[in-house]
């Protein structure tokens, strides 16, 4: 099986690796520390299916929940995750934390079964009280998962290898952006990704480079829309971007402090305290973007507040930006056509 075929096979059966393991946990939300997940052993993000009907989840979740949460809850109700021991949610993400309470309640009422939900009570405010709370939450989660200090250090080593692999891949993009999106997505489900990604990905040339920012799209459909116009997505700035794990984690003492400190300070996610407009501009410059697409799903609550300043900074820097706000999560609302028109306009 070629490397690319392997990635496609992971995406076709995202829970295959976890199912084959003697013990596996699931998680929902990208603020769960990779180091801790790696320390446990086998962990997979709960997969979502963008275009599936979700009749039961729709009855339980209000319209403001994104499609990923609906898809996951529908699968949960179908028993697709029954083989998992536990599923971790995070307080660092509002959708994840609310879904945790809903799942607990539905289980209490006997509407659904499945694994035991746990929540990682991450606090993000930049004060010692929040950091200490996050440290305690990390310790509690380690205890719940049976991860001691030695195992956590091993987990950090494993996660650092993954960080290195993703950073190398991200900094040396030669193929179309959609391939990197698939690799990044597959990395949530199986660590096999980190060993199968080859150095000789097919090199392609493009007429322009795009930065894709805002909400994480369900899959590579926006990347493909860009590629159809002869351009490529050269980088992403959203919670599922290839650099989502951040730089390597250096441990100088208690590994729990290091892991909790990283989670507390991470700029990713809706609840981080970061200048998002400057961050976007810096990222656009770093990846030499010719233009930016700022795509925001209708359910996005946090990032919408930064649109005016993000747009202003990009325009002042002479970087064209297409703002697609209040958009359907499955991009069935003409996003591809608007992207084509945007790129066509720049070519003229």
């Amino acid at each position: 099986m070629t490397a690319l075929a392997k990635i496609d096979s992971i995406l076709a059966d995202p829970l295959g690796h976890a199912r084959a393991a003697p013990a596996a946990i699931g998680y929902f939300g990208l603020e769960l520390p990779e180091d801790l997940l790696a320390a446990f052993g086998t962990a997979a993000h709960l997969p979502w299916v963008p275009d599936r009907p979700t009749p039961r989840a729709d009855a339980w979740l209000e319209p403001s929940f994104p499609g990923s949460a609906r898809s996951v809850l529908e699968d949960w109700a179908d028993g697709r995750f029954d083989f998992l021991e536990r599923v971790l949610f995070t307080r660092g993400d509002d959708v994840s934390q609310r879904l945790y309470y809903y799942v607990c309640e539905l289980q209490r009422r006997g509407e659904i079964g499945g694994p035991t939900p746990l929540i990682f009570d991450l606090a993000k405010i930049g004060r010692p009280t929040s950091l200490e709370h996050s440290v305690a939450a990390t310790r509690r989660l380690c205890d719940s998962l049976g991860v001691d200090a030695a195992r956590l250090e091993q987990g950090i080593e494993t996660a650092n290898l993954r960080r290195r692999a993703l950073a190398r891949l991200d900094s040396d993009r030669r193929a179309g952006g959609s391939l990197y999106e698939r690799i990044g997505r597959a990395s949530l489900f199986s660590p096999e990704v980190f060993s199968v990604v080859p150095d000789d990905l097919p090199a392609q040339t493009f007429r322009g480079q795009m930065l894709l920012a805002g909400s994480a799209p369900p899959d590579d459909r926006l990347h493909v829309a860009v590629e159809r116009q002869g351009w490529t997505v050269a980088a992403e700035l959203h919670e599922r971007a290839l650099d989502r794990l951040g730089p390597e984690l250096v441990v100088g003492g208690d590994p729990v402090l290091a892991v909790a400190g990283r989670a507390h300070a991470s700029p990713l996610g809706a609840r981080s305290f970061v200048d998002r407009a400057q961050w976007l501009l810096d990222k656009a410059r770093r990846c030499r973007a010719d233009a930016v697409i700022l795509w925001l799903a209708s359910e996005e609550e946090a990032l919408v507040w930064h649109v005016p300043r993000q747009r202003r900074l990009l325009e002042e820097a002479g970087i064209p930006v297409l703002v697609l706000a209040d958009r359907r999560w499955d991009a069935s609302d003409g996003a591809a056509e608007e992207i084509a028109e945007f790129i066509g306009r720049m070519a003229r």
Partner: protein
């Protein structure tokens, strides 16, 4: 003032409460605008008691939003936000104050707009609030003091039975401890920036007074739930709960709550009802419909449908009253650390509301589910299902509590009529 904000008041104390609040607004304006006293802007679910104990004037964001909304200015300011490039689906409920500041139109703004506060304070109960408050603080040239809303893993659907006495157990010691430490940080910031001192003894006294005040409201809520016909309209229930709540623990608030309790008792004893022909007892779930309270009275007149229950008044007992146990900071933290969660998350929301519907003999419930607002929508579907399972039909109204733009009273009344007919109730 438009027709939408004009409502019938059955209780003498209601008129006095609104008059007090009007005078308070003028007094607050005098202190913060004319005399430049330090003041704070804070969300409703933050520890107001700290500011009261330090005699620091407080503008509550929700009160300020209702104030702007009652002046029929919300559409204008939200339009101004859209013109500034904010996506039109951004959350409305907590951002009207920011919209007013960004509109920067002293001619239209209440008080000519807010001056620079000492601090803005919000608990981070949703993903959007920290962004709104951080930008508002920037626009006003001040600092934002966020407070955590940590996870709550001890999930007891009958929390309301134990919250007064067993608050450590119900709300979890580590959650209480985090908020106590945050409140101490906030106090340090306030002392440094205002020169005013915090005294725990004063907080202890305030907490005792609040317990007294909330006990009167709790008593009134129980009388209204028990009485047939319903003695007090929602338009009297809300101001007599909420206005004293903004001033909780003050001499006026305690006395007013007692007076409200007494007036309710008098109406119950006299057998007075809200509607001439009461036929249905309804439950209002969600924030108040600040821009059109006359909607409620249209239902009373047309359908004999009376809102016996809305969340603010019955909330006073389980969520405000606390055995202080010589630890006022901890008791206060237990009041605040889940104030939003019990109203918007399962199992607390549905557990409480099903119990309340049973207590009050509710025939049907109406839920306000504002679009583009995950926080306000949160928990409503599971609560609806739980109520329906308990035999209470529920109508969800897709409407906003402060934004009048998409609201049509006649259409909504007709929707209600149709819903009640469909449920075999009208």
């Amino acid at each position: 003032m438009s027709d939408a904000s004009r409502t019938r008041k059955d209780l003498a104390c209601t008129t006095d409460a609104t008059a007090f609040q009007k005078a308070f607004g003028a007094e607050l304006k005098r202190r913060v605008v004319d005399e430049g006293e330090p003041f704070a802007i804070a969300q409703a679910d933050t520890p107001h008691e700290i500011f009261h104990a330090m005699d620091i004037p407080l503008v509550t964001n929700q009160w300020w939003s209702a104030y702007i909304s009652a002046k029929q200015l919300s559409t204008r300011y939200f339009d101004a936000m859209t013109e500034r490039g904010y996506p039109s689906n951004s959350c409305r409920y907590c951002s009207l104050g920011l919209a007013c500041t960004l509109a920067d139109d002293p001619a239209s703004a209440p008080w000519g707009g807010l001056p620079r506060p000492t601090v803005l304070v919000a608990r981070l109960t949703c993903d959007c609030i920290q962004h709104v408050f951080a930008q508002w603080a920037d626009a006003l040239g001040t600092v934002f003091f966020p407070m955590e809303a940590p996870a709550w893993t001890d999930k007891d659907p009958a929390w309301f039975d134990k919250s007064r006495q067993c608050w450590e157990q119900v709300y979890q010691p580590e959650r209480i401890d985090l908020l106590v430490r945050e409140m101490r940080d906030l106090i340090a910031l306030l002392e440094e920036r205002t020169g005013r001192r915090f005294e725990e003894d004063r907080l202890q006294t305030l907490m005792e007074r609040i317990n007294e005040q909330e006990s009167y409201i709790d008593e009134a809520a129980r009388m209204i739930g028990d009485a047939r016909p319903c003695p007090v309209a929602i338009t009297d229930q809300m101001p007599n709960t909420m206005i004293p709540q903004w001033h909780r623990g003050s001499d006026w608030a305690v006395a007013h709550a007692r007076r409200f309790r007494d007036e309710v008792a008098e109406r119950v004893a006299a057998g007075l009802g809200v509607a001439a022909n009461e036929r249905l007892r309804l439950m209002w779930i969600g924030a108040g419909l600040w821009h059109d309270p006359s909607f409620y009275q249209a239902l009373e007149a047309r359908l004999g449908a009376v809102f016996v229950w809305s969340m603010y008044m019955p909330f006073a007992g389980p969520q405000y009253i606390r055995e202080i146990k010589g630890r006022p900071m901890e008791a206060l933290a237990s009041r605040i650390c889940s104030m939003n969660e019990v109203l918007h998350l399962p199992p607390w929301m549905n557990g409480w509301m099903v119990s309340e519907a049973e207590r009050c003999g509710i025939d049907a419930a109406v839920m306000l589910t504002p679009p583009n607002n995950r926080l306000s929508q949160s928990g409503t579907n599971l609560t609806r299902l739980a109520l329906e399972q308990a035999g209470v039909p529920v109508l969800s109204l897709d409407a906003d509590m402060v934004n009048a733009a998409d609201w049509n009273r006649d259409t909504m009344v007709a929707t209600m009529e149709q819903f009640l007919k469909g449920a075999g109730l009208a």
